[in-house]
Symmetry: C2
Subunit: 143 residues, 2 copies
């Protein structure tokens, strides 16, 4: 895989708000912030657009393996949030192009950092999981 385009996929549940008054006000802020651009498909779309500059609806769809429904919903959200710009060409058949705004482009950097960590540490996590699972299975048998 290419390392130039490193990325990640976050994804906050937009529907679930935090409890009203946790002792960690910062955490509320964090949730609020990333509820905007932190869902699964948003990040993937930004990634794709950052690599291809401009993509049409079905190009994105094929590229990501996303359903029309989620693509449509997510693109609308991204456009609303000012990360993606939508250009409609009144031709037949219709042609709509999506690309990143400046705000959207600025999002690539943090995404890359987090993606790099994720990729770098995937093996460690897998290893830790394997150990944990083995220990657990043994404990289950012994118990």
């Amino acid at each position: 895989m290419k390392q130039e385009g490193t990325f990640l996929s976050l994804g906050i549940k937009k529907g679930t708000a935090m409890a009203e008054a946790p002792e960690c006000p910062d955490c509320q802020r964090i949730n609020e912030v990333l509820a905007r651009v932190g869902d699964r498909w948003s990040v993937l779309i930004v990634i794709s657009l950052s690599r291809y500059e401009t993509l049409r609806f079905n190009e994105l769809k094929r590229h990501l393996g996303i359903s029309q429904r989620m693509l449509s919903l997510t693109l609308k959200e991204l456009e609303r949030d000012g990360l993606v710009s939508r250009t409609y060409h009144a031709v037949i058949p219709p042609k709509v192009e999506y690309s990143l705004t400046e705000l959207g482009k600025s999002f690539r950097e943090p995404v890359k950092v987090l993606g790099k960590w994720a990729l770098d540490n995937l093996a460690a996590i897998d290893s830790a999981r394997a150990d944990y699972d083995i220990t657990n299975e043994l404990a289950a048998k012994a118990g």
Copy 2:
């Protein structure tokens, strides 16, 4: 709010796998990777532990406003993934302490970068939303 402790909250849906063969193999990787440590509560817990070093079960619970259920589930996952270490003290009443492993600590940096972006651009996103919504409402009235 404090800017020293900047953070974020990602959150991948663990249950939903991507389509089998999208044209973007990287994206599959990304999903796989962050499905491990990218969910909503995991990040919040890592953030809390990074600031307090060690926290007990109910301390985390109060701090984050998280339910016992999700805290229990998420901590177990984080321990399994090697990000969090659990120390059980056989006293009465029971006492369990959670803290970050080295792997967990390494996760703080990317989290901080993404959190910083989120905080820096929250205003811009809000602004874009407001514009979008106003335009939409006007269009609806005009339509």
